[in-house]
């Protein structure tokens, strides 16, 4: 019995070229990585592959799919005005999130990066909406935004508007209301990301510019912003992907029927309403494939044109 450990150490000393040792190492690699590989393949990869398969069938979800319809589901989806509207809403959310949250978050981060009292408390409170779940945020906001709700009451009190504004069901207004809720939910996250980027910019650069008599704004414009650009691009990428996947907030605040008439439906709510809720699993899977392909194209395009410089190292570094 005592021979084996001694032999093991001897083998270790002689390097790892022994056949037994190599087998041993392979066993260790398998023990370490197989559980994660199995779970990951079962619940992420196989379902995604199956979605592409199911998407070719007209299938109610029971028994093996038999009614092969080829690309019919995809034709129906792309021709459906409801899907086109949902896609339009996603695009609207995507663009508006970038042009509103981005500048506001940068401005706030610049502000919070200065010395001031209570800065750490502000940072925590700004982050609170991000930690609250979409369901809670949605339920709270839908109560606040009722025509007889707190926001209209507040506007009346402040003498800004006497009207009972219909924030949720008026199709002209609802998508802007959704943007307000999205802004509230995700602004803090953007601020924190921007702050982390600002903190990586050496103070000396700003001081040097100040000595050269650059004004505050000149320093921000010509020194700080260019150095913040990688952070902004990473945030924008996360925001774009998030915008294409919006589901919880819309489904909670507007529900499956109202979202379409109020003009806040998204591709994901369209998928759930017309797939699972309608019992059309083949169709739902096809919508999933469409959402995935759109996300993939947008992600690759963004990666190609904006992000490449920043993630070149970051995403591949780990395995080198």
């Amino acid at each position: 019995m005592t021979v084996f450990p001694a032999a093991g150490i001897a083998a270790a000393r002689h390097g790892r070229r022994g056949a037994g040792n190599r087998w041993h190492e392979r066993a260790e690699i398998a023990v370490l990585s197989l559980p994660a590989l199995v779970i990951f393949a079962t619940f992420v990869i196989i379902p995604v592959v199956m979605a592409a398969y199911y998407g070719f069938f007209n299938w109610r979800g029971y028994g093996p799919p038999a009614n092969f319809v080829g690309l019919r589901n995809y034709q129906l989806i792309l021709a459906d005005p409801a899907f086109q509207a949902a896609l339009g809403h996603n695009a609207f959310i995507l663009v508006l999130s970038l042009v509103t949250q981005g500048p506001v978050a940068i401005a706030v981060a610049l502000l919070l990066n200065q010395r001031m009292r209570g800065r750490s408390i502000v940072r925590v409170l700004v982050f609170v909406p991000y930690v609250i779940s979409e369901v809670i945020a949605g339920t709270g906001w839908s109560l606040i935004l009722q025509t007889q709700g707190a926001l209209n009451d507040l506007l009346r009190e402040a003498g800004i508007s006497q009207a009972a504004i219909d924030w949720l069901t008026n199709p002209q207004l609802a998508i802007w209301t959704l943007m307000l809720i999205i802004m509230w939910k995700y602004l803090g996250f953007a601020v924190i990301i921007m702050l982390s980027g600002l903190q990586g910019i050496p103070e000396e650069l700003r001081e040097a510019a100040a000595i050269d008599r650059a004004s505050y704004w000149q320093i921000q414009r010509h020194v700080v912003l260019p150095l913040l650009a990688p952070t902004i691009r990473i945030w924008a990428f996360l925001s774009i992907i998030g915008s294409l996947q919006v589901f919880d907030l819309v489904y909670i605040v507007w529900g499956q029927y109202l979202a379409q008439s109020a003009g806040t439906s998204t591709m994901a709510t369209y998928m759930v309403v017309n797939g699972r809720n309608a019992g059309s699993y083949g169709f739902g899977n096809a919508v999933a494939v469409v959402i995935f392909l759109i996300s993939l194209v947008v992600a690759l395009a963004y990666q190609r044109f904006a992000l490449r410089r920043d993630t070149d190292g970051a995403l591949t570094e780990g395995a080198k």
Partner: protein, 276 residues
Amino acid sequence: MSAISRRRGNPVAYLISFALVGFCFLPALYIILGGFRTNSQIIQKPSGLPDPWVASNYIDVLAGSLFWREAANSLICAFGTTLGVVVLGLMASYAIARYNFKSKQAMYAFFSAGLMFPITVAITPLYIMIRDLGLVNSLAGVILPQIAFALPMTIIILTPVLKAIPKELEEAALVDGASRLGFFARMAVPLAMPGVITVGVLAFVGSWNGYLLPLFILSNEALYTLPLGVQSFASQYSVDTARVLAFVALSMIPALIFFSVLERRIVGGLTGAVKG
């Protein structure tokens, strides 16, 4: 003079921070305070403060079994997910970071590819998979996919952390007779703790707030997690606004406590070393 004004910051900064904090925190405050009002108070003055304060909404919710059962289900899911993600993620990252084998680049790329599939996109086929495995209406049916979907980010975060452990430490441990797996359990895991906590917090909060997956998997109300519970409570008691607000406030508190306890870890982990 200038030193003082520098330390205090300029008034505009305070004004804007104040507005920002109001925007971010007031809705949460409205929910919490609304739970201390009566329905007639809320109808008469939707944006008012509690007058008088009533605790009965909170007491009713806390005295019933519904809230506790759903909180327990959420806790089981969150802990199960966190434990699974941390254990499996550490093991796989360790293999990728510290062993040499031909397919390790491919394995890393395989896991990283998971970032391309958010749960929203995969949910319909995932539901069918879980149904075929007989896991519908079981918490395991929520926990296992949550582990799977959290693995890519976990492995991306943990692999460089484990790789950064000096080779000399491992060689010294091997000379002292430790096996490589022994080194993993006794040395590598403790050294990777900061990364493990970041990953664990992300997994916990993600699971606690998860809605779409439980919505598909759990139709038995006895298994509802808090997000599902909040939604069904809100539609069931839609006329009893005060009680809904109390229920919503209570279900938001655990995540807030968890976050404020580990706030330095999360925000600190994102912002790096925070000065001043």
